[in-house]
């Protein structure tokens, strides 16, 4: 059975932060096509602020909590509470898990998706980050149903995120600044969906590298 150590695995979150930092200008560029071109700046600001507060020795859950709390408390806008809630919910379920099993992570993921959607009021098809995280969670669930290993579930989650992100290209924005464009928003990726894909794939890969097999 594959599991993930909670203790000392803050590095997973730090990798997510670094990925957002590296892709910041790409995210702003995407946002520029249909929004106000600041998504990378907004994300980078909050994620870098959290980076300073996270110790590499922190647990995975602790690091998620710090990131979530930083986003909620210090970022504002819509991204602060949305991503903040996502990371906080992940943390809340995972904090008692040691090691983290694929079941625990599914529960955490479902909680995060639910919390995020309740808060944001966005549905699948609105052309937001929900279009990435929702199918990602479903892909993980589907893999679990087929008794796939933790690693396989994570790979499926990343694939689901990618497909979901790509799906936003053909959607018309119903929420946020891009809604301004109506039909003209079609043909462009959604910035939030893209950052969410970066977060989920980076997290999946970082977790994969830390998975431990035991009988």
């Amino acid at each position: 059975m594959e599991t993930l150590r909670n203790q000392g695995n803050a590095g997973i979150v730090l990798q997510v932060i670094d990925a957002i930092h590296e892709q910041a200008s790409y995210l702003s560029e995407i946002d520029g096509a249909t929004g106000d071109g600041d998504h990378g700046i907004n994300m980078n600001k909050g994620f870098m602020m959290a980076k300073e507060r996270i110790e590499p020795s922190d647990s995975f859950a602790e690091a998620l909590k710090i990131l979530g709390r930083t986003l909620v408390m210090d970022i504002g806008g819509s991204m602060g509470p949305i991503y903040g809630t996502m990371f906080s919910k992940l943390s809340r379920v995972l904090k008692k898990a040691e090691p983290i099993t694929k079941e625990a992570f599914l529960e955490a993921l479902e909680n995060a998706v639910q919390g995020l959607m309740d808060l944001a009021g966005a549905k699948v098809g609105d052309k937001t980050l929900v279009d990435t995280i929702y199918p990602a969670c479903q892909a993980y669930q589907a893999a679990m149903k087929q008794d796939a290993e933790f690693s396989q579930c994570l790979r499926e989650m990343a694939k689901g995120a990618e497909a979901g992100k790509e799906s936003t290209k053909d959607l018309v924005a119903k929420i946020g600044r891009a809604a301004r464009l109506g039909e003209r928003s079609r043909g462009h990726l959604d910035a939030g969906a893209t950052s969410c894909w970066i977060i989920l794939t980076t997290m999946a890969n970082a977790m994969l590298a830390q998975l431990q097999s035991r009988e």
């Binding site: 907004n42 504002g76 509470p81 808060l119």
Partner: protein, 336 residues
């Protein structure tokens, strides 16, 4: 981009410094949170605290309504972006005196989320916070979907009424009821003639072609109902007034407060021309104007355009509207 700024990423910080310095007799900035503006009157007597908040770029909204008999504390966001949950929370803490806090804000996704999270934090501290969410913009959703409508300049009436009520010594439930009544009795609509530019972006997010106007545009450039040929002030007033009157509906014999606001770059002269047309139409319909406000009360940086807000009055609302008030955006002597 022709702007009088230092650094496009720090316009809000820089503005707040100037604002505090200019209005130090009215307000102060929270020592621990530079994004919270607090009225110097907030805790002079024991009363319900009035809090609001929102993105920057709408001056006088939101901080311009912080002061005597109106808003007690304001959470300040980036340009066109919701304040943090922490700022809302700190605003609650700053003004709670045990009688509770009325958080009176506008219906935007970000604000809803940040207020919600702030309320959870306040709950842990046993601070009772209740909310009224302004949804006066008739163009932003169908009447059947009223809860989806965003809040615009009608928020000013909500703050005026809530602030007055609190100043009169009302309980939290009474303040919330009055503010809710104010916004329920209020309808707004806006028209955009030219876009504006968020300093950090450097170029407008949308365009409005010369000779056209966007009917029903939102305060951040949210899409309107339609783009039309730019008509006369009379034609504009006719369509806007009709939409607003029919939605409520405002009926003959009722008394109303009217607020006409420019969106930033509209000469005040034009706002009075527009107001006159509105007033004539209301008169024709037998609707009586009790009090009117014309000016740049709720703007969107340098957007060109105008908004119309009408609130139906009863005796309670009149008393609140008439109350003395002293803020940067609205100062009124007690009605003679």
């Amino acid at each position: 981009m022709q702007r009088i700024i230092n650094n496009c990423d720090e316009v809000v910080e820089d503005m707040l410094k100037g604002f505090e310095r200019c209005h130090h007799d009215l307000i102060r900035v929270d020592e621990n949170n530079p994004r919270v503006v607090i009225s110097k009157e907030a805790t002079k007597k024991r009363k319900v605290g009035i809090v609001t908040g929102g993105g920057s770029g709408h001056k006088p909204a939101f901080i311009g309504y912080c002061g005597k008999n109106m808003v007690d504390a304001v959470a300040v966001g980036e340009i066109f972006s919701s304040p943090t949950a922490k700022s809302f929370y700190d605003a609650f803490c700053a003004v709670d005196q045990g009688m509770g806090v009325a958080c009176l804000y506008g219906n935007y996704a970000g604000d809803n989320m940040n207020v919600k999270m702030a309320m959870e934090l306040a709950e842990d501290d046993d601070i009772v916070v209740k909310t009224v969410v302004a949804n006066d913009d008739v163009a932003s959703a169908d009447k059947a979907d009223r809860t989806k409508r965003r809040g615009v300049a009608g928020e000013i009436f909500m703050w005026k009424v809530g602030g007055a009520k609190a100043a009169m010594g009302a309980s939290l439930d009474e303040v919330i009821a009055a503010a809710q009544k104010a916004i329920d009795h209020t309808r707004s609509v806006g028209v955009g003639l030219s876009p504006c530019t968020i300093p950090a972006n450097g170029k407008p997010n949308f365009t409005i072609e010369e000779g056209t106007m966007e009917f029903g545009i939102g305060h951040h450039g949210e899409p309107g109902i339609k783009v039309e040929k730019l008509g006369t002030a009379k034609e504009m007033a006719k369509e806007m007034t009709r939409l607003v009157i029919e939605d409520k509906p405002f009926k003959a014999g009722s008394e109303v407060a009217v607020l006409v606001s420019g969106l930033g770059a509209t000469p005040v002269m034009e706002q009075y021309i527009f107001f006159e047309e509105v007033a004539k139409l209301l008169e024709e319909q037998g609707i009586c104007i009790y009090k009117s406000y014309v000016g740049n009360y709720f703007t969107s940086l340098e957007m060109n355009g105008v908004t119309l807000t009408i609130m139906e009055l009863d005796e309670e609302l009149k008393e609140c509207v008439d109350m003395e008030v002293e803020t940067m955006g609205m100062t009124q002597l007690a009605r003679r």
